[in-house]
């Protein structure tokens, strides 16, 4: 009897594992099904170099299939536009500058981590990161571990949090110990 009960219990546990509720592919599919979005963001850098955290805010606009715009309102106006392989940077008092994501992974891949997540593009993520998923649809965390050596020198891990097909937060842990935490507002349209 006990044996049978044990076997049933084992089977049950096996079934629970096999059910593995949420795979990265599933998340990517649901993200890929989403539409264009604009969200407000607040980004905070916690650093041992600073007496007080550095706060930036603005909005993030994603236009399908693959355009991401990061517009900073405070403290200084600034605009990053990611299109294809190119990132165009516009800041006050300087001519616009364009860099290539693949040639400047440290700069570009961070933006690519957001863009690729928003469009559910696992292949692009995997170009720079080892991708792991924690949690379930109501509250998931995408864990990105840099595989590119240049990036790995700078970034320990990126965690992207979300609910369903929506991003709620993002955290970058730098190798130097700095933590950059971004919260996405509810203003999604």
């Amino acid at each position: 009897m006990i044996r049978v009960a044990f076997a049933v219990a084992l089977l049950g546990a096996g079934a629970a594992c096999a059910q593995a509720p949420y795979a990265v592919e599933d998340l990517m599919r649901s993200l890929a099904a989403g539409g264009d979005s604009t969200v407000a963001f607040t980004e905070t850098r916690h650093s041992s170099a600073l007496k007080t955290p550095l706060v930036t805010s603005g909005e993030l606009r994603f236009t399908r299939p693959a355009q991401l715009e990061r517009r900073v309102r405070t403290p200084v106006e600034e605009r990053y536009l990611v299109e294809g392989d190119r990132v165009t940077i516009e800041r006050k008092g300087a001519p616009p500058r364009t860099v290539s994501i693949t040639s400047q992974p440290a700069l570009g891949a961070f933006l690519e981590s957001i863009r690729a997540t928003l469009r559910g593009d696992l292949a692009s993520l995997k170009r720079y990161y080892r991708v792991e998923l924690e949690g379930a649809p109501p509250g998931w965390t995408l864990v990105l571990l840099p595989s590119d050596p240049v990036m790995a020198e700078l970034i320990t891990v990126i965690r992207i949090r979300g609910v369903g097909g929506r991003l709620t937060g993002l955290e970058v842990l730098e190798t130097g110990g700095d933590r950059v935490v971004t919260r996405f507002g509810e203003g999604a349209r």
Binding site: E43, R45, S47, S48, A49, L50, K51, T52, L54, V55, T56, R70, V72, P75, V76, E78, Y80, D85, I89, R91, S100, I101, T102, S103, Q104, P105, A106, L107, F110, L111, V150, L154, I155, V172, E174, T175, G176, D178, V180
Partner: protein, 770 residues
Amino acid sequence: MRRGAAVGLWLAAVIACAWIAVRATYTADLTAFLPPSVTPNQALLIAQLRDGVAARLVLVGLEGADEATLAATSRALAERLRASDRFAYVANGAGGLSKRDRDALLDHRYLLSPAVNAEQFSAAGLRAALERTLELLASPAGTLVRPTLARDPTGELTTLLAAHAGRTQPALREGVWFDVERQRALLTGETRAPGYDLDAQAAIQAEIATAFAAARTDPGVRLVLSGPSVFAVRSRDAIEQDAWRLSLVASIGVALVLYAAYRRAALVAFGALPVATGILAGIAAVAVAFGAVHGITLGFGATLIGEAADYSTYLFAQRARGEALAATAVRVWPTLRLAVLTTVFGSLAMLLSSFTGLAQLGLLTFVGALAAGLATRYVLPAVVPARWATRDAPTVPAPAALAALARGARKLAALVPIALLAAITVLTFNHARLWENDLANLNPIAEAEKRRDQEMRDALGAPDVRHLIVVTGATREAVLQRLERLEPALAQLVARGVVRGFDTPTRYLPSVAAQRTRQAALPEGSELARRLSTATEGLPFRDGLFAPFLVEVERARTAPPLVAKDLEGTVWGLAARALLVELEGHWAGLAPLTGLADAGALAQTVGALRDPAVSLLDLKAESDAMVSAYRNQSLQLAGLGVLVIGAVLALGLRSVRAVIVVMLPVLAAIATTAATLAAAGTRLSLLHLVALLLVLGIGTNYSLFFSRFVPDDDERLRNAYAVLVATATTLIAFGALATSGTAILQAIGTTVALGAALSLVFAAAWSQPR
């Protein structure tokens, strides 16, 4: 007994020569063949050809697949090539600077950066820089700025890097350099081996191909190599391949003709003995006199000594029935001796040349012809078994036809002066475009390949290897300072669109004076600390964060100025080394220009500086000038050679009229050959000149033998027959070369074959019936 002595002496000499030849140094260094530098610019050109960056640059293109595949291949290939120690650097646009380069720049940033000045280090200047850095820290670039924040809060490294990124850069796709228009991923590599070391360059190119085969994932991807060293290896291979193949064809043809004439295979083999002896002796002489034998000397020298291949023909084919070879040798010797001596003394003129290449060629011919002549006279009769010589003496085939031919030829006697005059007229009319000065046109490189090289160069923004601004000075420092003063003028040229860009060594190694000025702009330690505390007021930086910055500025302020050695092994160091050349005790700095649009405006700007230390160097114009100087001296020496030959003939023949009879036909043949080539649109080069010198040698011999005194009709026939056989072998050997696809071989082949044929006809026309 005397026979044995001759053979013994010959054997000893051959062994000694072989020993020297085997141990001799052979060089393929093209620059060794160039003239002793006359002007500083030419010295620079030679330095550039020998060891310049341009000569060591290999351009690599990948094509035949989509961007992502090509980019992945480019990355994998670059990684493999970087792992090889054959390259000083390999660049494909990915990854930017290596860690080592970045560290070197970071360490020396305050001495290297042109942006360092007193204003920047005032409290206000520091404040502005810190605010900018804070903004960056709050952006996605923050991750990049953060690691060096404490050391470099003013972002000097970023400024330094941005100044370099501002230069013309190739387009990037998928993170690597691309020629977008042609869907071609681009890489460049600078080899450690100098460009002229073709063996090393060939090995490097093979290594690239191997690395490519391992790196490519898609079989559709194709590898394209370009650059001066690639072309040089390719043309050498083409020449070698053609030379081997055609030599084989020619050897078989010549052997068949000689076999038909002698009816003995062994005699054909013995016939090669004098010329082989001559080449060996010539090589040994050059090795002893010059220390090293150049590959080109060898090639041209073997061509010139080609005349000696006829010596044995004159001996074997002249043999009468039942005559001992030794007797034939005695009989023919007066004429053969003159044939040998005209060549020997004719080459004496070249021996006196100030150009190492020509002098080597002269010595090789001088010694080679002499040795071949002596071997024909004294060794051949001694070593050829008497029974072969006495039995089966060669019979002249179709004697009646040959006699008729000779009579017919004499009716053309008037043709010789007419042809000479006509040829001189044609050459005079064409004199402006008679000569080829562009070395590139002798390269057996297809037009399509040259075009592709230009495409890749344009896409990479690589210097066009042609236009440089040269600044000279007594020391490296003097050159760097002059270049720094010149920079505004160069920037002006870019602004006006005269050139697209320029590079200068001061970017990589500023002058000591400039570094001292920068050091003077850095505040002393406590002063900087005071200004910094004013500047950071109200900013969120933690107190004491910038201690490393204070230390590093103080270190830079008091450091000894940066010298070339400090940058060794970095891209910066390489660039500085490539653009600063030491020339016999003084220095030259090179500023390569990219995308020259208006040569006139450039020359005017440089001229307006009125600075004798600054000059514009057009490598192509310099090389053209050098080639034409080379050729002019060759021409003068050849002219001198003709006079010497005339003098030798006058002594030997003891009659001015006889000298004219011998020399006019061959001079007419040479002039007619040159005129024919010119009329066909061929521009004459040094190669044609060497070929014509050979024609002079063999043509003189034809005339000598035709005009030689012969007692009877039988011997006259044998005499004509010997010349005919000699001509036939020359026509076969050089006719084969004329079919080559390689410009160099084709030029030599055509010229000699045409010249030999004309020499035969003209010499026969002026032959004396006695």
